[in-house]
């Protein structure tokens, strides 16, 4: 997919999504905004895990870094008398910088570590978020930081409600993040990431610096996670350690795996699922004739149970996730129509035969898919 097509696709998708907001009621628009915030993080995570093969359990901490960067900058600018769009943009840039720097540090550590070590380090980072928030004065402990309310800008006020405006902003930021990731994935850097993931030694022999590629992947992924944190802070007008727990980190991973590792479409499906499934389960348990105590108990835990089971079943049975299943179905249809033509093999880093089914890898893209 060339760059212009990616940009056009992103623009079209954004226009379509903004059109969709007119069909939704305010609460649905709020949910859409949250899903867009999660999408920033899941898209970054899917590129990190799927393309560069590094597992992060700490993306909630990176989102938190973005959220705090956004909130503190927004507060400082408000007291300096800056408002509106400049304040939003400056705060978002601060969020990107904060998450990017944290990601750079993690990436530098991660370039020397493999698999489980990196996962444990990032997990410990998330666990330490409340402790850091409590021990650094400016972060104000469990209470968190409140931000200035960003209302609908003047000319649009008569037209749309606050939630719809928030959804627009969230969708726009998510579109920027996902487009950036798509360009990285389809470009030279993406190719290098895949080369390093599949065989570090071979990649190094081909003139790629594996450590640099891994660090770059981590920074890119952190920046988008920081954008996600900024959007979440923008929508909820506050940031606190309670919002960025280990559970959120693990759920982001679930979303990415359920969608299919390495697939941006899958990341979007996963982000929507993260928002919709708890609501769906809540609706079902409310409708059942259960005592209120049981309902209360189920509300918090039943969605998690479903997510966990999905994760296990998918990793054990269908490692490609939802997007992988779609691709496989398409490929099956195509092979039935005509015998597979041997395409230019340069685009294949791994011959299909060496990737066993049941293995956790991005499905090899055949060049005919575009």
């Amino acid at each position: 997919m060339n760059a212009r097509r990616t940009l056009l696709l992103a623009l079209g998708g954004l226009v379509l999504a903004i059109g969709l907001t007119f069909l939704l009621d305010p609460y649905r628009n709020y949910q859409l905004a949250i899903a867009a915030a999660y999408l920033c993080a899941t898209a970054g995570l899917t590129v990190l895990v799927g393309l560069s093969g590094q597992l992060s359990l700490g993306h909630a901490a990176l989102m938190a870094a973005g959220g705090y960067g956004y909130a503190l900058t927004s507060q400082a600018l408000t007291s300096a008398g800056v408002g509106g769009l400049p304040r939003f943009l400056a705060a978002t840039v601060a969020a990107v910088v904060a998450a990017g720097v944290l990601g750079l540090l993690l990436g530098l550590a991660g370039a020397r570590l493999h698999g489980p070590y990196l996962a444990g380090l990032t997990l410990t980072l998330v666990v330490a978020v409340p402790a850091v928030a409590a021990s650094v004065g400016a972060l104000q402990g469990d209470r968190g930081v409140q931000t200035q309310f960003e209302g609908v800008p003047g000319p649009l006020k008569a037209l749309i409600a606050l939630e719809q405006w928030q959804a627009w902003v969230a969708l726009a930021v998510a579109a920027v993040a996902v487009t950036g990731l798509a360009l990285v994935r389809d470009g030279r850097t993406g190719l290098r990431m895949r080369a390093v993931r599949d065989d570090e030694v071979a990649a190094a022999l081909a003139g790629i610096a594996p450590a640099r590629v891994k660090v770059l992947a981590f920074v890119v992924s952190s920046v988008t996670a920081g954008l996600g944190g900024a959007v979440l802070t923008f929508v909820t007008q506050s940031v606190s350690p309670g919002a960025y727990t280990v559970s959120l980190s693990l759920l982001l991973l679930v979303a990415v795996v359920v969608g299919g590792l390495g697939s941006l479409l899958g990341a979007a499906l996963g982000a929507v699922l993260l928002v919709l499934l708890p609501w769906l389960v809540g609706t079902v348990t409310d409708a059942l004739p259960l005592p209120s105590q049981v309902t209360q108990r189920l509300d918090g835990t039943l969605p998690l149970l479903v997510f966990g089971l999905l994760l296990i079943v998918l990793v054990a049975g269908a490692p490609g996730g939802l997007a992988g299943a779609l691709t496989a179905a398409r490929a099956r249809r195509r092979t039935r129509r005509r015998p597979p033509a041997p395409g230019p093999s340069a685009a294949r880093l791994v011959p299909a035969a060496t990737t066993r089914p049941g293995e956790l890898r991005e499905p090899v893209r055949t060049p005919t898919e575009g």
Binding site: V49, G53, L55, L57, A109, R112, L113, H114, G115, P116, Y117, A119, G120, L121, L123, T124, L125, V127, A128, P130, A131, V132, A134, S135, E200, V201, A204, V246, L250, L253, V254, V257, R297, L298, G300, T301, L302, L304, L305, F307, G308, L309, L310, L311, I312, V315, A316, G317, P319, R356, G358, E359, L360, R361
Partner: protein, 292 residues
Amino acid sequence: MDRLVFLLGTGLARGTLFALFALALVLIWRATRIVNFAAGAMAIVGVYVGVAVTGLTGSYWWGLVATVLAGGLVGLVVERGVLRFASPRSPLSGVILAIGLVIVLQSLLGIAFGQQHEPVPAPFSDRPLRVGGVPLLSPYDVFVVVVALGLMAVLRLLFVRTTLGLQLRAAAFAPEVARLLGVRVARMRTVGWVLAAAAASLAAMLAVPKELGLNPHAADMLFVYAFTVAVVGGLDSPGGALLAGLTVGVVMSLVTGYLGATLAPVAVLALLVVVLLVRPSGLFAQAEARRA
């Protein structure tokens, strides 16, 4: 001075627990090359069973036995039922399966028992004994140290002196050769998981009375500490786990005592970062051959 001695004493007592839990991670890593991220959630299942048995029989000891048995059973079910599907060629799939297991086990426990902290009383006094006028260890701490060190000694005997231990080591280090020589490698893996899960459950059961109380997340911090210990000691080295466990226990105790409990996770993070940057495969692991 009194305070320092007391903190050192409690630190060593906590450290043996960290070491025991870390040993469970090391056992599974050696047998299957998987870091068991579900160890905390699995151990807490055993603790719930143990506490229930104690409640039914009125005896702490039956509860302790039940914890170990239930923990081992959970290990068996998890290895045969879930982790068997981990792809041996991708280190990520084992971690992700374990994460799924954490989510499933904790939400099941949450549905069954709720999220509130159930206080679990210690079977012995928690008040520190004075040795020469200085408060040192409580009787419960002594009990914890004796049980944890005892179990580690038994495990060492099992691995070094028995045929089963020899088979376990052979299956872990050279699975193909071991299989050719008649070792049932798959069964040895299962045995390793059962032993590890039972040890982790026991460690969690001993740790719970010293924490806030029993809830589905009660072993999360224990797991994070134990992971740090296992990494500091080298995931391949049981002896390293013991030494690193005592070290981390003392460091945590000093940080908590002098700087405040909220800083303990930050201290763990700092320790982990430093060790991973200086010696990525742990302080006590054998050097790995250069690969590129």
